[in-house]
C-alpha cells in the first residue's frame, strides 16, 4: 500500500496507532464514569489497567502492520518512515511498562483509575505525534498534548502535598518554556517561510533563509526542547518534580517523555537545520558537556534514591545530547537504540523503588536499602542489573548503547565530547554502585520494619521483561542495532556528518 497524502483518508492509515490509542483512551474514560465502575472500588481499577495495556498492544499491532505501508515523498505533515515507526516501538514500550508498574500504586493510593490511565494513554499519543511530526505546528500540538497530560499526572495524588507542588512547578515552568518554543517556531517561519521540516531544510541548505531570524529561531527552539528533556541549565524543575510526582508517573516521565521529545529534537535539528550545522553545533556541544558534568557531580551527593535517579535522568539527557550534536546516521541510530534500552532499564529501576518505598511511599532514603539484597534476593539481583545497566557496565544494554553513541560521536570527530562522555560515565559508577553496595554489603539496621514485599503480577511482568531485554541487548545487540540503523536510513536529509568542524 502506498500513501501520497493526496486524500485526507491517507492520514487515517498513517496515524492508525495514534487514532487507536486516542479512541481507546476515550473508551476508558467512558467506562470510568459508568455507574458500575465509579462505585466499584478495588477490582475495577485493575480491570482498567489491563484494558489500557490491551490498547497499547492494539496500537503496537497496528504499528507493526504499518511496515507494509510506504509513503511517497516527504511533503505530508506526519512522517511514515522507519524512524517514526521505531520511535513508536520505544514509546509504546515505555507506556506499556508504565501502565504495568502503576497498577498497584493506583489501587493502593485509590487514585481515579480511569482518568489516570486515559491521561497516560493520551500523553503517549502526544509523544508518538511528536516523534512522527514533519511540521513544527504538529510537533507543538504533540508537545502540548503530552505536557498537559503529564502536568496533571504529576499532581495526581491528591493526598500528597508534594505531588501538588510537583504538578504546579512543572506546569508553571513548562508553560513558560512553551512560550520559548512557540516564539522559536514563529521566528523560523519568518526566516524560511514555512513550518514544514522538508521545506525548512531546503530553505536553510540553499542559504535563502534570513540569517538573524533563523539563528534566533533555532536558539529558542533549542531552549524549548532542552527544557522538556531537562538539559542543564534548564533542569531546575527536574529533581523537585521527579521527587514529588507519584513514582510510576516519575518513571513514565523520565523515559517516555524524554524519549519522545528527544526524537522530535533529533528530527528538527538534524533534518530541518542541518544546513546551518556550523551555527548551532557549538551551543549544543556546550549544553551536552555542562549537562554530563553537572548532573553526574550533583547525583553523587544525593541520599534520596528517587532524587538520585532524577539526576541520573538529567545525566542521560546529556549523553543523548551527544547524538544530537553528532548529527549523523550512526548517532541517530545510536539515539534510537539507547532510548529503547534506557526505557527498559529506567522503568525497571523505578519499579523496584516503588516496591521498596512500600505502602505510604516513605522509604526512599538510601539507608532503607541496607541489607535489602539478602532479604529479597530476586529483587536485589534485578535492581543491581538495572543499576549496572544505567551505569553502563559491560554485558548490559546500557554499555552497548553508550558504545553506539560514542561511535556516532567519533564519526563526527567529536573527540573531546567522547572523552567527557567516558569520564562522566566512570564518575557515575560511584552513585549507582553505592546503592548496590548498601543492598549487599551493609546489614539492615536494628529495629527496621520487616515489611514483606508483595510483588504483584503486573509488576513481575514489567520487571522480568525489563531485565530479560536489558541483558539480551547487552549480549546480542547486533540485530537490533542493524534494525535501528536501517530505520534511520529513511531519514533522508540526515546530514553527511559534517566532519572536521569539531574542536
Amino acid at each position: 500500500m502506498e500513501l501520497d497524502f493526496s486524500h485526507q483518508a491517507h492520514f487515517i492509515v498513517a496515524l492508525a496507532p495514534e487514532i487507536i490509542l486516542s479512541v481507546w483512551g476515550m473508551v476508558i474514560l467512558m467506562i470510568g464514569v459508568s455507574p458500575r465502575h465509579s462505585h466499584g472500588p478495588e477490582g475495577s481499577a485493575a480491570h482498567l489497567g489491563w484494558l489500557s495495556l490491551a490498547g497499547i498492544l492494539a496500537a503496537a499491532l497496528s504499528n507493526g502492520w504499518l511496515y507494509s505501508v510506504t509513503e511517497v515523498g516527504t511533503h505530508s505533515m506526519v512522517a511514515l518512515d522507519g524512524f517514526a515507526l521505531f520511535s513508536n516501538w520505544i514509546l509504546l514500550a515505555g507506556a506499556g511498562l508504565g501502565i504495568l508498574i502503576s497498577q498497584d500504586y493506583v489501587r493502593r493510593q485509590r487514585l481515579q483509575a480511569a482518568e489516570f490511565y486515559a491521561l497516560l494513554i493520551f500523553s503517549t499519543v502526544g509523544l508518538m505525534i511528536m516523534a512522527a511530526a514533519r511540521d513544527l505546528i504538529i510537533i507543538f500540538l504533540g508537545l502540548e498534548i503530552l505536557s498537559i497530560a503529564v502536568y496533571v499526572l504529576a499532581a495526581f495524588n491528591r493526598r500528597d502535598p508534594k505531588s501538588a507542588e510537583a504538578g504546579l512547578k512543572y506546569f508553571l515552568l513548562g508553560a513558560f518554556s512553551t512560550g520559548f518554543f512557540l516564539y522559536g517556531i514563529a521566528l523560523v517561519y519568518g526566516a524560511t517561510g514555512s513550518m514544514h521540516i522538508s521545506v525548512i531544510a531546503d530553505s536553510v541548505a540553499s542559504g535563502n533563509a534570513h540569517g538573524a531570524l533563523l539563528v534566533f529561531g533555532i536558539a529558542l527552539l533549542a531552549v524549548g526542547f532542552s527544557f522538556k528533556v531537562s538539559v542543564v541549565p534548564f533542569h531546575m524543575w527536574t529533581p523537585d518534580v521527579y521527587e514529588g510526582a507519584p513514582t510510576p508517573v516519575t518513571a513514565f516521565m523520565s523515559v517516555a517523555v524524554k524519549a519522545g521529545v528527544f526524537l522530535a529534537f533529533l528530527r528538527v535539528f538534524s533534518v530541518a537545520f542541518v544546513g546551518a550545522y556550523e551555527r548551532w553545533w557549538a551551543i549544543l556541544w556546550w549544553l551536552a558537556v555542562i549537562t554530563m558534568v553537572v548532573a553526574n557531580l550533583i547525583a553523587t551527593v544525593q541520599v534520596n534514591v528517587k532524587r538520585m535517579l532524577a539526576y541520573s535522568g538529567i545525566a542521560h539527557a546529556g549523553y543523548l545530547m551527544v547524538a544530537i550534536v553528532a548529527a549523523n546516521e550512526t548517532a541517530a541510530a545510536g539515539l534510537l537504540f539507547y532510548l529503547l534500552i534506557y526505557t527498559l532499564m529506567n522503568i525497571g529501576a523505578f519499579g523496584v523503588v516503588i516496591l521498596v518505598s512500600g505502602q505510604s511511599e516513605e522509604r526512599l532514603e538510601i539507608q532503607e536499602y541496607a541489607g535489602f539484597g539478602w532479604k529479597h534476593p530476586w529483587l536485589g539481583v534485578l535492581f543491581t542489573v538495572f543499576l549496572l545497566s544505567l551505569a553502563g557496565f559491560p554485558g548490559t544494554g546500557g554499555f552497548i548503547g553508550k558504545v553506539f553513541l560514542l561511535q556516532g560521536a567519533m564519526e563526527a570527530d567529536l573527540v573531546y565530547l567522547s572523552v567527557i562522555l567516558v569520564l562522566t560515565t566512570v564518575a557515575s559508577y560511584w552513585y549507582y554502585l553505592r546503592v548496590a553496595w548498601y543492598m549487599w554489603m551493609r546489614d539492615a539496621p536494628d529495629g527496621a520494619t520487616d515489611e514483606p514485599i508483595d510483588v504483584s503480577l503486573p509488576m513481575r511482568l514489567a520487571l522480568i521483561t525489563g531485565v530479560v531485554l536489558v541483558l539480551y541487548f547487552g549480549v546480542f545487540p547486533g540485530a537490533t542495532m542493524e534494525w535501528a540503523r536501517s530505520s534511520v536510513s529513511g531519514l533522508s536529509a540526515v546530514g553527511p556528518g559534517l566532519t572536521g568542524l569539531a574542536p
Binding site: M77, L119, I137, A155, R158, G193, A212
Partner: protein, 173 residues
C-alpha cells in the same frame, strides 16, 4: 495610512504587554491585556484577516478576558499584592535580555525587509482565496483539508485539558 495605523496598533500592543507585566494589580494587568489583544485584532484587520480579527475580539478580548476578570474577583486577588521577592535586579536583567534580543533583531532587520518578502510571497494566494471563498471560507477550507491533522489534534488537546482539569478539581475521595 495603513503604515501609520500599523505603528499605532503595534505601539499599543507592545505597551499593553509591558503593562501586563509591570502593573501591580491583577485587574490592571488584565485591562492592559485587553488593550494588547484588541490592537492585535487591529493588525489582523490591516492584514485583511477580517475573520481572525472578529474572532480575536469575540473570543479573547471578550469572553476569555471576562472569565479571567471573574476568576480574579472571585478569588479576591486584587488586594493583598506582594512584590516579587527577587526584587528589582531580576526585573532589570529580564528587561535587559529582552531588550538585547529585540535590539539585535532590529539591527539585523534594519536594512529592510527585502530578504523576507521573497520568502513570504503568500500574499497573492491569500488574496485569491479571499476572493473565491470569502473571509470565513478562506480559513475553513485549509482547516479541514491541509491542516486536518492539526485541527483534530487540537480537539484532542482540549479533551486532555478538560479531563485533566476535572480530575484535579474533583473532591479527593
Amino acid at each position: 495610512m495603513p503604515e501609520i495605523l500599523f505603528f499605532i496598533f503595534a505601539a499599543v500592543a507592545v505597551g499593553g504587554a509591558v503593562g501586563v507585566v509591570v502593573s501591580r494589580s491583577p485587574v490592571a494587568s488584565l485591562l492592559f491585556m485587553v488593550a494588547t489583544l484588541a490592537s492585535t485584532a487591529g493588525i489582523f484587520v490591516l492584514l485583511e484577516a477580517h475573520f481572525l480579527a472578529a474572532i480575536q475580539i469575540l473570543v479573547y478580548a471578550g469572553a476569555i478576558m471576562v472569565l479571567f476578570l471573574f476568576v480574579i474577583m472571585l478569588l479576591n486577588l486584587g488586594h493583598d499584592y506582594q512584590r516579587d521577592i527577587r526584587g528589582n535586579v531580576a526585573m532589570i536583567i529580564g528587561f535587559a535580555v529582552t531588550g538585547g534580543i529585540g535590539g539585535l533583531l532590529a539591527r539585523q532587520l534594519g536594512g529592510g525587509t527585502a530578504g523576507l518578502e521573497t520568502n513570504l510571497g503568500a500574499g497573492d494566494a491569500i488574496d485569491a482565496a479571499l476572493r473565491e471563498y470569502g473571509a470565513v471560507g478562506a480559513i475553513a477550507r485549509p482547516l479541514f483539508t491541509d491542516y486536518v491533522v492539526a485541527f483534530e489534534l487540537t480537539g484532542l488537546l482540549l479533551l486532555v485539558a478538560i479531563v485533566g482539569a476535572i480530575a484535579l478539581a474533583k473532591k479527593a475521595s
